[in-house]
C-alpha cells in the first residue's frame, strides 16, 4: 500500500497501521504487532495453513489447520504419461480445506495425466474432503515461463471451475521473468505460493527477493519452512496482494 502524498498525509501512516492490524487479525500473521515484534523462528503453532510433503508424518498441529496443501503425486521428468502417486491413500479430512498438490518436472503432459488428476480430485471429494483446488509445484526453468503460462491456461480450462488453481513460485520469477509471461500467469492462477527457504532455513537475503515479488501483481502467499528464520520484510503486510503464509512442515 503506497503512502499517498497530499493533504493529511501525516495521518496516512496511521491508517496504514490500522489496516495492517486488521490484516493481522484476519490472517494471524507472524510478525504482527508492529515493527518491534519480530518473529525469529517459524513455529507452526502460530499459523493455520500448512504444506505437507508425502513423507512427513502429519503432526498434531494439523488438527486445527484451516488449509492444508497435501502433496499427492508427481510427474517425472522422464515420463510425461502418468502421475506417480506419493500419498498411499486418499485423505479424509473434515476440518480443513485441502489443496491437491502435484509436483511436476515437465508440463508437456499426455492426456492421461490430466485424466488421472481429475480422477484423483474426484476420489478426494468422494471421500468427503473439502477440496479447494489444485496446486502445481513446477520447477520451471524461467526461459520457459511463457510455456508454463500456456500450460496453466490449458489446465485451468480442463479443471472444473469450482477448483482454484495455485502454483508454487520461485522468488526470482518476479525478478527476471518475462513480464508478458508473468502477466499471462496472473490471468490464469488464483495464487502463487512463494518459497523462501533453502534446506531447513530461510533464504538469506530474502528481502531483496520480496521486493521484486511485490511487483508480480498477483495474489500470493509466502511459504515458510518450519523452524526457519523469518522476519517479515517491512512492507510485506502492506502489500494488498499478500495473502498470508503457508508453513512447510518438516519431518520430526
Amino acid at each position: 500500500m503506497p503512502i499517498r502524498d497530499g493533504p493529511g498525509s501525516s495521518d496516512i501512516t496511521g491508517s496504514v497501521r490500522a489496516g495492517f492490524a486488521a490484516l493481522c487479525a484476519l490472517l494471524l500473521l507472524a510478525g504482527c504487532g508492529g515493527e518491534g515484534a519480530r518473529q525469529e523462528r517459524v513455529d507452526p503453532a502460530d499459523y493455520d495453513s500448512f504444506f505437507l510433503w508425502a513423507g512427513v508424518r502429519p503432526p498434531p498441529v494439523l488438527d486445527r489447520a484451516k488449509e492444508v496443501y497435501l502433496l499427492s503425486g508427481e510427474v517425472r521428468a522422464r515420463d510425461n504419461g502418468r502421475i506417480v502417486p506419493l500419498r498411499p491413500q486418499v485423505p479424509h479430512v473434515d476440518h480443513a480445506a485441502l489443496w491437491l498438490v502435484l509436483r511436476v518436472e515437465r508440463i508437456d503432459w499426455q492426456p492421461a495425466v490430466t485424466r488421472q488428476l481429475l480422477r484423483e480430485l474426484g476420489r478426494w471429494e468422494a471421500a468427503g474432503n473439502r477440496v479447494k483446488g489444485v496446486q502445481i509445484d513446477f520447477d520451471a526453468a524461467t526461459l520457459r515461463l511463457d510455456r508454463y503460462a500456456a500450460f496453466l491456461a490449458e489446465l485451468r480450462k480442463r479443471l472444473p471451475p469450482r477448483y482454484k488453481l495455485s502454483v508454487t513460485g520461485l522468488m526470482d520469477w518476479s525478478a527476471q521473468g518475462d513480464p508478458a509471461a508473468l502477466a499471462a500467469l496472473g490471468g490464469t492462477v488464483d495464487e502463487i505460493v512463494i518459497q523462501t527457504y533453502q534446506g531447513r532455513s530461510t533464504v538469506p537475503g530474502y528481502e531483496a527477493y520480496m521486493a521484486s515479488l511485490a511487483r508480480l501483481d498477483l495474489p500470493y502467499r509466502v511459504g515458510l519452512i518450519e523452524g526457519g528464520e523469518w522476519r517479515p520484510p517491512p512492507g510485506l503486510a502492506r502489500d494488498p496482494d499478500f495473502r498470508g503464509y503457508v508453513v512447510f512442515l518438516l519431518p520430526e
Partner: protein, 712 residues
C-alpha cells in the same frame, strides 16, 4: 540463479514413511543444489557414484548390485538435465540415477495407478475371457455377466465415499450395484457371486469380500476357483493395512496393522502358491508374500527373501530397480531392520547409513561403532575389500582418522577400470590424502582419472583434482592446456566463483571449450569489472563480445544456461526517461572519473533496465570447503547502485537535475512495498520519507518531483 531458492530438505527422514508409495523413497520433492565437494558424510539431496554414508541408500545398494555384473566401468550416456541442471555430472538423486542407468519399466496406462483399483481394467479383461470360455453359461447369461462387470467401475470411481469409516457398517455404500436377478444356472450364479465379491473388495467391505470369495473356493469354473483363492489373500492384505492410514492418507506404520489379517494373508498366499505354483497369479503372489511378511513385522524373513531375489534378478534390469525401491522402504528404512540384516550387500548398505551424522539417523538406527563393525568380519567373509571399505569409511567419517583409510586401502590408482566398490575405495583414499595434505595427492588423482571409465566416475576424480588445485593456490592448473579437468560445470563454478581476470580473459577466448562456458567466462569478467569499478579493464575487454551476441536470454541460471547474454554489455537497454549514452560511453566517463555523476546514474540505469537487480551469481558452495569457496582471485567487492543515489543527492557539485533524479531513484528503490531492490545500505522509512519530502520541496519544479507521487 535459482540457487538458494529451494534446496532440498535433508530428505533422509522423508523416505521413512513412504512405505506404500513405492517409488517415492528418499528422493527429492525439491530442487537440489549439492555442495560441490567429495564429502559424503551426510545425507542430502545429491548422491554420487562413490559409495558413501551420505548417498541415498538405494544408490548404494544399486552400485553394489550392479557390481555383480561388472556394470560400473561402462561409459553410459549422461542424462539431459533441465531444471535439475545443478546435479551436472557429479551428482544425482535416485530417480535420476535410475532413469539414467536402468531401463524404463513398462507401465500400462491406468487411471488407478497406485491404488487397489489398479487391477480393475486387467480384471475386466480376464473376467470377460473367463465368461467367454465357460461352456456352462448360456449366451444370455454371458451377456448379462459381461454387462454386470461394468458396475465395478463406479465403485472404484467413488471409492471412499461414505465408506471410509469402514467400521460404520450402518452406512450403505454410496454406489449400490444392482445385479441381474435372473441369472439362474449354477455357473452363472458363481460368476455373479464373484462380481459381488469383487465389488465388496474394491468398495472396502472386507467382510463381504472375504465371505464371497471363500464361497467360490470350490467353484466349478477353474478360473473362478483359482482367482477367488488369490483374491482372498488380497482381501486379507488390504484388511491388514486398512487401519494403518491416518486422515491425511499417511501410512502410520505397521504398528497399527491387523496382524491376524496379515497372518491370514500369509497363509492364503502360501495356499495359493501350493495349489498353483505356476498359476495365473504366481508372480504377484510371491511379491504379496513379501508384503505379508512386512506387515507382520517379519523383517528377517523379508531380508532373506531379498537376498534370494538378488541371486535371481538380472543385474541392471528394470526389475532390479523396482526391487531396490522395495528393499529400501520395506526393509532398510523400517524400524527394527538393524537386527534383521545379516547378508553382505544389505548389511554394507545399512552400515553405511548408520555412519551418517546423528541428525540423519531418522529411521530408528543407532550409530555403528568400530567394534561392532569389526565384529561383522565373519558376515563379510569372502568380501574383505567391502568390509575394509566399511572400516575405512568409519575411520574417515566417524572417527575422523584419515590415516586409517590409507592403512586399509592400498593405492590402486593405476588400474585400467574399476568396479563401483573399488572406485569408491580409491576415491576415499584420495579424500584421505587430501585431508592429510599428503604431497602425493595430485599424482594420485592424475593416475586415477585414466581408469575412471564408468559413467559419473571421471567427473568425481576431476572434482577431487579441482578441489586440490583450488586449495593449493594453483587454480591456473585447472585451466592450463592439457588439464584433465574437462567437466564443464566444475570449470564454470570456478570461473564464476574463484577465477581472477587473467583466467577469465583466457577462457573467454578458449576456442576448445563449449560456447556456454566461454561466454560465462566473458560475462563474469565483464560483470565483475563493471561492478567492482574496474572501468578501464572493462573498456578493453568488452571488445571480446562478438557482434550479434545474445542479449535476450535473461540472467537465469547462467551456470546451467545454454545461452549467456554477453550481448547485454554491447547491445543492452541504455536509458529510459533519464537520457544515457551507450554503456561504453558511460564506462568511459567513469574510467576518467569513477565519481562521475552522470556515469554513476547511467550505470545504475544499465543495471536496472537489464535485470541486474536481484541478479546473483550462482553460488553452489556456500558451505566451507566446497568447490569455488576457497579462492577468490578477482579483487574488490561489488558496488551496488543503491549506494549511488544518496551520495549524488547529497553532492552539492552535482547538477540540480541529477540530484533530483538521484532522489527519485532512491525512493523508487523501495517501490512498491518498502523493500530495497537496489542493494546497498538499508534506509528506514523515515529516511525514505525525507528523500521524498526533499524532492518535493527543494526540487518541486523538476520532472522527477512531479512524477513521483508516493514513497514506500
Amino acid at each position: 540463479m535459482r540457487r538458494r531458492i529451494r534446496i532440498a530438505v535433508a530428505l533422509g527422514a522423508l523416505g521413512a514413511a513412504l512405505a506404500l508409495s513405492g517409488r517415492a523413497g528418499a528422493s527429492s520433492d525439491f530442487s537440489c543444489y549439492p555442495e560441490w565437494s567429495l564429502d559424503g558424510a551426510d545425507f542430502d539431496c545429491g548422491s554420487s557414484i562413490v559409495l558413501s554414508p551420505g548417498n541415498d541408500t538405494r544408490v548404494n545398494l544399486a552400485l553394489l548390485l550392479r557390481d555383480r555384473a561388472g556394470l560400473a566401468s561402462r561409459p553410459g550416456t549422461y542424462p539431459t538435465l533441465e531444471w535439475d541442471f545443478s546435479y551436472a555430472r557429479n551428482f544425482f538423486d535416485w530417480n535420476l540415477f535410475r532413469e539414467t542407468l536402468y531401463p524404463a519399466e513398462s507401465v500400462p496406462d491406468n487411471d488407478y495407478y497406485g491404488s487397489r483399483c489398479v487391477s480393475l481394467a486387467g480384471g475386466d479383461a480376464a473376467f470377460a475371457a473367463a465368461v467367454s470360455a465357460s461352456g456352462a453359461l448360456s449366451a444370455r447369461e454371458k451377456e448379462q455377466l459381461s454387462g454386470a462387470r461394468g458396475q465395478l467401475k463406479p465403485v472404484c470411481e467413488n471409492f471412499g465415499q461414505e465408506r471410509w469409516y469402514s467400521q460404520d457398517q450402518a452406512k450403505a455404500p454410496a454406489v449400490a450395484p444392482s445385479w441381474p436377478a435372473d441369472v439362474a444356472s449354477s455357473a452363472g450364479r458363481e460368476f455373479l457371486a464373484y462380481l459381488v465379491s469383487a465389488a465388496a473388495f474394491y468398495g472396502e467391505d472386507w467382510g463381504g469380500a472375504r465371505a464371497g470369495f471363500s464361497s467360490l473356493l470350490s467353484a466349478k469354473d477353474p478360473w473362478l476357483k483359482e482367482t477367488a483363492r488369490y483374491m482372498l489373500a488380497r482381501v486379507d492384505l488390504n484388511a491388514a493395512q486398512a487401519a494403518s492410514f491416518d486422515e491425511w492418507g499417511f501410512f502410520t506404520g505397521t504398528d497399527a496393522t491387523d496382524t491376524t489379517a496379515a497372518a491370514s494373508a500369509a497363509r492364503a498366499l502360501a495356499d495359493y502358491l501350493k495349489a498353483y505354483p505356476k498359476g495365473l497369479y504366481a508372480g504377484s503372489a510371491a511379491g504379496l508374500q513379501r508384503r505379508a511378511q512386512w506387515l507382520r513385522g517379519d523383517l528377517s524373513g523379508l531380508a532373506k527373501a531379498y537376498e534370494g531375489l538378488f541371486g535371481r534378478i538380472e543385474p541392471g534390469s528394470a526389475e532390479e530397480a523396482l526391487l531396490i525401491d522395495e528393499v529400501d522402504n520395506k526393509l532398510l528404512l523400517a524400524k527394527g531392520a538393524e537386527g534383521a540384516i545379516s547378508t553382505p550387500l544389505l548389511l554394507a548398505t545399512y552400515d553405511l547409513m548408520r555412519m551418517r551424522g546423528g541428525a540423519n539417523l531418522d529411521h530408528g538406527q543407532t550409530p555403528i561403532g568400530e567394534a561392532e563393525l569389526k565384529g561383522q568380519a565373519r558376515l563379510f567373509s569372502g568380501n574383505k575389500p567391502l568390509h575394509d571399505f566399511l572400516l575405512a569409511n568409519h575411520a574417515f567419517y566417524v572417527a575422523g582418522k584419515a590415516q586409517g583409510v590409507l592403512a586399509l586401502i592400498p593405492d590402486g590408482s593405476s588400474a585400467a577400470r574399476y568396479s563401483a566398490l573399488e572406485f569408491s575405495r580409491q576415491m576415499l583414499r584420495g579424500q584421505a590424502l587430501a585431508a592429510l595434505g599428503d604431497p602425493g595427492e595430485e599424482k594420485f588423482w592424475l593416475g586415477l582419472v585414466h581408469g575412471a571409465t564408468g559413467i559419473y566416475q571421471r567427473p568425481s576424480v576431476e572434482l577431487g583434482l579441482a578441489l586440490h588445485y583450488e586449495k593449493a593456490g594453483q587454480l591456473a592448473r585447472v585451466f592450463a592446456p592439457g588439464s584433465p579437468i574437462e567437466d564443464t560445470m566444475i570449470r564454470k563454478i570456478l570461473l564464476q566463483k574463484s577465477a581472477g581476470a587473467d583466467i577469465l580473459r583466457a577462457q573467454a577466448r578458449n576456442a576448445e571449450r563449449p560456447a556456454p562456458e566461454r561466454d560465462l567466462a566473458l560475462f563474469t569478467l565483464l560483470h565483475k569489472e563493471l561492478t567492482r569499478g574496474r572501468y578501464a579493464d572493462f573498456l578493453a575487454d568488452v571488445k571480446l563480445v562478438p557482434a550479434g551476441a545474445d542479449a535476450q536470454s535473461g540472467l537465469w541460471q547462467l551456470v546451467g544456461s545454454e545461452q549467456v547474454p554477453v550481448g547485454l554489455f554491447t547491445n543492452g537497454t541504455w536509458s529510459e526517461a533519464y537520457a544515457c549514452p551507450a554503456l561504453g560511453g558511460t564506462v568511459a566517463a567513469l574510467a576518467r572519473n569513477p565519481q562521475d555523476v552522470k556515469g554513476r546514474l547511467c550505470l545504475g540505469e544499465f543495471y536496472r533496465l537489464n535485470g541486474f537487480d536481484g541478479f546473483y551469481e550462482y553460488d553452489p558452495a556456500e558451505q566451507k570447503g566446497g568447490l569455488g569457496s576457497v579462492a577468490n582471485l578477482f579483487p574488490g567487492t561489488a558496488i551496488p547502485r543503491g549506494s549511488f543515489y544518496p551520495a549524488i543527492a547529497a553532492d552539492p557539485a552535482a547538477a540540480r537535475e541529477d540530484r533530483a533524479y538521484a532522489l527519485y531513484r532512491a525512493v523508487m528503490c523501495y517501490a512498491p512495498a518498502g523493500i530495497n531492490s537496489c542493494g546497498g545500505d538499508e534506509v528506514d522509512e523515515a529516511g525514505r520519507k525525507a528523500w521524498f519530502q526533499t524532492l518535493k520541496r527543494q526540487y518541486a519544479d523538476t520532472r522527477w518531483a512531479r512524477e513521483l507521487r508516493y514513497y514506500w
